[in-house]
């Protein structure tokens, strides 16, 4: 269904408005490989939207060049170029006088597709964004904000463009629906693999959405261009460090899942087992008290001294095994669970509920030192993400 994504390259791009001393975009060079999401992020007035709008010639570049799949955009007529580039803006800009179906069909019709193909494409996209086919005949004012935003994305995808430009696409949506739309979009992208330039002022959104993040600072200067993990681990300047926030260690945890880190090895035991065997296992474990499990390997609780006093393990717990975390949990959530239960340790379960290891605060601290390239991001993170 999808045409090949295009690579994008900005080469020393400059935008200077007449009558101003400072350029709006200053010598910006970026390379975005085909199929990746590149987020432009920075404070207001940093030129991120200007930089994005130069890609489809909504703003003309003063100097430098922009290459789409190796060809300069300046050699294309603006209208023709734009039909090949999906365009989503914060205000969405649906045509209020056209039905949803007609709104989605704008670019296919401009491209001269025949009626049947346009109609099929509209149906396909409505399904893709999860809207009922009957919505086709409605007008934008009859839809909710979230539905309008989905239609905006569908409209941008309609011509099957190899590149999409998205300017704060979820900026006007309330936080709960925003998160839902972000997740939906990442799942969509995992399937479509478009090249995307995504503009936001929100560093959390940038970290969540981006395969690569370009942090811009005032005057349109590139402060850092790196993967989310790299950005959080090694901010190159005080500006970037300040911009990503004092909680950047916690933000890194948001990029990792429990399965990504080195878990501690616990000593598992069952009721009636020889305590000598359990002691032998304890010597080999990272934790000095054993975890009692049932016949299926599900955790019952932390065993007390008395439980280990005799020849055989007795069911005598010092505490229940709360909380338990799952392999697919986001590290940040898992840490929060430990803190909420005022405990240092929690058993990690697989999807059958069997203990696979122990998550401890020290293991989490250790995880923050892992190499950034081992941390998945963007679409990679969404593939295993469940709807929140």
């Amino acid at each position: 269904m999808s045409s090949e994504a295009a690579s994008l390259e900005l080469r020393e791009v400059v935008k200077r408005y007449p009558g101003t001393d400072e350029p709006a975009v200053d010598n910006l060079s970026l390379e975005v490989p085909a199929g990746e999401i590149c987020v432009l992020v920075g404070p207001s007035g940093c030129g991120k939207t200007t930089a994005m709008r130069m890609v489809n010639r909504m703003i003309d570049i003063t100097d430098g060049d922009i290459l789409l799949d190796g060809g300069s955009i300046t050699e294309r007529s603006p209208a023709e170029l734009r039909r090949e580039i999906g365009y989503v803006i914060q205000q969405i800009g649906l045509f209020p006088h056209r039905t949803i179906g007609d709104n989605i069909a704008v670019v296919p019709r401009l491209l001269g597709w025949d009626k049947q193909r346009v109609s099929d494409r509209v149906d396909e996209l409505l399904e893709l964004i999860g809207l009922d086919a009957e919505m086709r005949e409605r007008y934008p004012a009859q839809l909710s904000g979230g539905q309008r935003q989905r239609v905006g994305v569908a409209r941008a995808l309609a011509g099957d463009p190899p590149l999409m430009l998205m300017d704060e696409p979820f900026g006007a949506i309330d936080p709960i629906n925003r998160e839902r739309l972000q997740n939906e979009f990442l799942r969509l992208q995992a399937e479509l693999r478009k090249t995307i330039v995504f503009v936001t002022h929100d560093i959390d959104e940038a970290i969540k959405m981006g395969d690569r993040i370009a942090v811009l600072q005032k005057g349109g200067k590139l402060a850092q261009f790196a993967s989310p993990a790299e950005l959080l681990t090694n901010p190159v300047s005080p500006f970037v460090e300040d911009f990503v926030g004092a909680d950047r260690a916690l933000k890194r945890l948001a990029l990792q899942r429990v399965r990504d880190i080195d878990l501690w090895k616990g000593a598992l035991c069952r009721t009636g087992e020889s305590t000598a065997d359990v002691r032998a296992r304890l010597a080999d474990a990272d934790l000095e008290f054993p975890l009692l499990v049932d016949g299926d390997g599900r955790p019952l609780g932390w065993l007390s001294e008395r439980g280990m006093a005799g020849e055989r393990v007795m069911e005598d717990l010092r505490s229940r095994a709360e909380p338990t975390v799952e392999m697919d949990d986001i590290m940040r959530d898992a840490l929060s669970d430990l803190l909420a239960n005022q405990t240092m340790y929690g058993p990690v379960l697989d999807d059958q509920g069997r203990v696979q290891g122990i998550l401890s605060l020290r293991a989490i601290a250790g995880a923050l030192n892992i190499r950034p390239e081992d941390v998945p991001s963007g679409a990679g993170l969404a593939e295993t993400s469940s709807p929140s």
Binding site: R83, L94, F95, L110
Partner: protein, 240 residues
């Protein structure tokens, strides 16, 4: 003898009167229903002449003002001079304009139409420009960003969205022109105004001629409203 004198001065239609009571009513320039019924024919031609003057000047006037409005929207520097020009046209007293044109274009429809078209300009032009200006910029941005050419954006997005304002201008212009066309007889173009002026003291005459003008204005207003509803299904859908 005295009756003969009245007869001599009375309009032609007077001779059709037989009922003495009516005779009395007409003699007193009163409101005489039966006279109206019997003399209605004499208003048909002036009425259609009035319709002709109104419709032709509205169509020509709309075509010119709409084009000027689009031009002023695309070339922003034209908006000022064009607004000034149409405003000047609008401020010339109407009778003066009819009389001023007489030496140039002579008596007749041409003179009347030129003057009437001139009066439509400010109203329609201003509403076209304002309507286009009120289209939300993000919608225009989205249209251009998707690859509509500037002309496609104008005709497929901006004009449809400005329609309520544009048609509101057309409605005001229509009722204004129906009124002004009653003065067209100064330019020798007839119309209902000629009938009113011919017997301005005769109540029956003034009521019928004036009433027809009012009906024409109301009818045109409803017609434009109908066009508006037909052209803007999205407004109905949202209200429903």
């Amino acid at each position: 003898m005295s009756q003969a004198a009245v007869l001599a001065q009375a309009p032609e239609g007077f001779f059709t009167q037989r009922d003495p009571e009516d005779l009395d009513c007409v003699a007193q320039n009163g409101f005489c229903p039966s006279w109206i019924v019997e003399n209605f024919d004499r208003y048909v031609d002036p009425f259609f002449q009035h319709v002709y003057l109104t419709l032709v000047s509205l169509i020509i006037g709309f075509a010119i003002a709409f084009t000027l409005g689009l031009l002023a929207h695309r070339q922003r520097w034209l908006a000022g001079p064009l607004t000034a020009m149409t405003s000047v046209l609008y401020t010339i007293p109407s009778i003066a304009l009819f009389l001023m044109l007489l030496p140039l274009t002579g008596r007749g429809n041409t003179t009347a139409l030129i003057a009437l078209v001139a009066y439509t300009q400010l109203i329609i032009f201003r509403n076209v420009v304002n309507g286009l200006r009120q289209v939300p910029p993000d919608i225009v941005d989205a249209a251009e960003g998707m690859g509509l050419t500037p002309m496609q954006t104008l005709l497929r997005v901006e004009v449809p969205m400005a329609l309520p304002e544009i048609l509101a201008g057309l409605r005001i212009a229509a009722s204004t022109i129906v009124g002004l066309a009653t003065l067209a007889f100064f330019a020798g173009a007839g119309g209902l105004g000629a009938e009113i002026a011919a017997q301005i003291n005769f109540k029956s005459n003034v009521v019928v001629a004036g009433g027809l003008a009012v009906l024409l204005a109301a009818g045109l207003d409803l017609a434009v409203l109908g066009i508006q509803r037909a052209l803007m299904p999205w407004r109905r859908a949202v209200a429903a």
